[in-house]
């Protein structure tokens, strides 16, 4: 397993390199954002540990660049910034996990193990519907290349509809596939979710077929991305 560590503090870097080495990882170290970005882009790492406050290019920008360049390596953000607004920004940029300083080395190792295991999951082909694209492996969706922010229920709804695109799907069918058996459901739930998903992917991609249900379609003149 090969890990990239992007961290500017020399003492912390030394400690982490030692701890990661002991845990059986091969570690490359970059001390600034520019070098980190270059290494992450060119070398096939299994995971990246990324600090946010970096010289030259900050961590969030590095992450955004990788994701735009389709570098899908799982990234764990390690930072002193513990505000929720910063965590949200980190996950929006494409992070897979987030750990705040000060931290226990054992916790970092545990998170890293989970991250690597998760990304090694079975690959399945991604789904496309016009400019809308869904990657079941990473549980991510994009519209015209822009990443979508979806909760798991919204993601499940979109996933199911894209698996059955072009067909009218009834409300009951959606409820059955959206929820576990023991999830309490109320009748207007589906409208709420459809409304929310429409807001995120654009209002015209999901059509309401009166009395029957919903149908997802590509926009007119759009070809699959």
């Amino acid at each position: 397993m090969r890990i990239l560590l992007v961290e500017d503090d020399p003492d912390l870097s030394r400690q982490l390199k030692l701890a990661l080495g002991d845990a059986g990882y091969a570690v490359d170290h970059a001390a600034d954002g520019e070098e980190g970005h270059f290494l992450g882009e060119t070398e096939p790492y299994d995971a990246v540990i990324l600090d946010l406050g970096l010289p030259k290019i900050d961590g969030v920008s590095v992450l955004e660049k990788w994701r735009r360049e389709n570098v899908a390596t799982p990234v764990l953000i390690l930072t002193a910034r513990d505000n929720w607004s910063q965590k949200v920004a980190g996950f929006d940029a494409g992070a897979d996990d987030y750990l705040t300083k000060p931290f226990h080395t054992e916790e970092l190792l545990a998170r890293l193990r989970a991250l690597v295991r998760r990304s090694a999951g079975h690959a399945s082909p991604s789904l496309a519907c016009g400019g809308l694209r869904l990657d079941p492996r990473a549980a991510r969706a994009t519209v015209n290349g822009e990443p979508l922010r979806l909760t798991s229920l919204e993601y499940r709804l979109l996933h199911y509809m894209m698996l059955h695109q072009g067909r009218v799907i009834s409300r009951t069918e959606l409820v059955e596939h959206l929820y576990d058996q023991d999830f309490d459901r109320d009748s207007n739930t589906i409208e709420v979710f459809i409304g929310r998903v429409r807001k995120k992917i654009g209002p015209d991609r999901i059509e309401t077929v009166r009395g029957l249900g919903y149908r997802i379609m590509a926009l007119e003149g759009e070809t699959d991305a």
Binding site: D11, L12, A80, D82, W84, D92, D96, K101, T151, S152
Partner: protein, 467 residues
């Protein structure tokens, strides 16, 4: 406590600008109108009396021209005014001799006087004697006690050496009535005019001050979080004030933002060295290492405590901020599901569109983030978030989970700073205490209950920005 107001001037020192302007204009107008009323009344009365006196003078001239003396006996001419023949008719004349003491003894008198007489007061008699040929006027009464206005004039008759006093008198009730009627009419007219003037001034002031009232309403909207800045078009006198207010709001937001940045930088600067020291010391045996671990932990506690204090201080000053609740709930739900991905946590959320929190976005994120993290840690699989308006000013955020919950008697402990009910569970241990502190800073509160889903239900009440 508000400072005691300076004793207001006539009770309107600070009460109302409108009242003040209207009253000042009103007092001036009323004074002028009263003065005008008196003046007009005076002029009218003078004119009426002069016309009346001219009539009396003519009667005296008539008497003087035709009166004759025969054998020392004075004969008066027949009067054209028939009223002189009817007793106590209200028109009288008299020709009298005047002795040195000013006592008038009638020589001839009109039939209307019957056996009474016209008696000039001594002063009038003296003046008449001093100015022969000039009429002197005075007021007296007739035998029926009606008010009379009379004229007296000293003159000579051919054939008599002693001068005689000619007098004519007439009932003055007619002019009194006319004057009174005029007074009533003029008073009525002036009162109507005065009321009209005050109404006009009031309207003028209300309309003139309209932009000021609009400014006040807009400032209130900014403070309540309904608007971010003043946008109205104001007259030349007020637009600099609106500009200054906008600059103040912007400055306020800027200060808060700068403070947050400083706080964040400080956190970053301190936390990495603390982390390094902790890790290094934990790996070393010995007393020194133990001391470093203990002291570093204490430093970490201090840093977090004071950073939170600084954030709370910055927070209390912000005005005009509003944050869309659904947006924040959505982004945090997505983030939280990623954080708890291995556990497979599902977050189900409901928030009406257009529901806005009156405060900083970062604070709402911090607040809900901590509650959600706590729920994520303790839940089995499911977390439910509900945002609802309570009324126009408040909203409630409820987070429930299906975890083991928290016994009622231990709920108070969670809200104490740094309390951690289970040391083995991850998290800073400050979560709900921070939320409680934040909610209080906004005048809201936090309530812990049992949830129908099995776990804990955290309800946070927060100020709502009106839409």
């Amino acid at each position: 406590m508000t400072p005691r107001a300076r004793k207001p001037w006539f009770g309107l020192g600070r009460s109302s600008l409108v009242l003040r302007l209207v009253l000042l204009a009103g007092v001036w107008s009323v004074a002028m109108l009263v003065l005008a009323g008196f003046g007009l009344n005076q002029l009218f009365t003078r004119a009426a009396v002069e016309r009346f006196e001219a009539g009396l003078g003519e009667s005296i001239l008539g008497l003087q021209a035709e009166t004759t003396v025969e054998d020392g006996q004075v004969y008066a001419p027949p009067m054209t005014d028939v009223r002189a023949y009817r007793p106590f008719s209200g028109f009288y004349w008299q020709i009298a001799s005047l002795d040195d003491k000013g006592v008038a003894t009638p020589l001839v008198r009109s039939r209307s006087l019957w056996d009474s007489r016209l008696t000039p007061p001594p002063k009038v008699a003296a003046r008449a004697r001093a100015n022969p040929g000039v009429s002197v006027y005075f007021d007296t009464t007739d035998p029926l006690n009606k008010p009379l206005h009379a004229a007296a004039q000293l003159g000579v008759i051919p054939g008599r050496t002693e001068p005689v006093l000619f007098m004519a008198a007439e009932n003055r009730e007619a002019i009194d009535a006319a004057t009174r009627r005029f007074t009533y009419i003029i008073a009525g007219a002036l009162i109507v005019l005065g009321a009209g003037l005050i109404l006009a001034v009031w309207l003028q002031v209300r309309i003139g001050l309209q932009p000021l009232f609009r400014l006040r309403r807009e400032v209130a909207r900014v403070r309540k979080g309904k608007a971010e800045r003043l946008v109205g078009d104001y007259p030349a006198e007020l637009s600099p004030l609106a500009g200054e207010l906008n600059a103040l709001v912007a400055y306020n937001q800027d200060v808060v933002e700068r403070q947050r940045t400083h706080v964040g930088n400080l956190a970053h600067a301190l936390k990495t060295p603390i982390s390094v020291m902790l890790t290094e010391a934990r790996q070393q045996p010995g007393v020194l290492a133990d001391i470093v671990v203990r002291q570093s932990e204490a430093m970490r506690g201090h840093v977090e405590h004071h950073l939170r204090r600084a954030r709370a201080a910055a927070r209390a000053q912000t005005i005009g901020e509003r944050t869309d609740v659904a947006e924040v709930v959505d982004e945090l739900a997505v983030t939280m599901e990623r954080i708890f991905q291995d556990k497979g946590v599902t977050i189900d959320w409901r928030a009406p569109d257009e529901l806005c929190f009156r405060g900083e976005r970062q604070d709402l994120q911090e607040l809900l983030g901590n509650v959600l993290e706590n729920a994520g840690i303790w839940c089995k699989r499911k977390v439910r978030v509900t945002a609802e308006p309570i009324d126009g000013d408040w909203l409630t955020l409820t987070v429930e989970d299906d975890g083991p919950g928290l016994p009622a008697e231990r709920r108070g402990e969670v809200l104490q700073r740094g309390a951690r009910l289970d040391e083995s569970a991850p998290g800073s241990g400050l979560g709900l205490a921070i939320v409680d502190e934040l909610a209080r800073a906004y005048g809201g509160d936090l309530v812990l209950e049992g949830s129908a889903m099995g776990g804990l239900k955290v309800a946070v009440r927060l100020p709502r920005a009106e839409t």
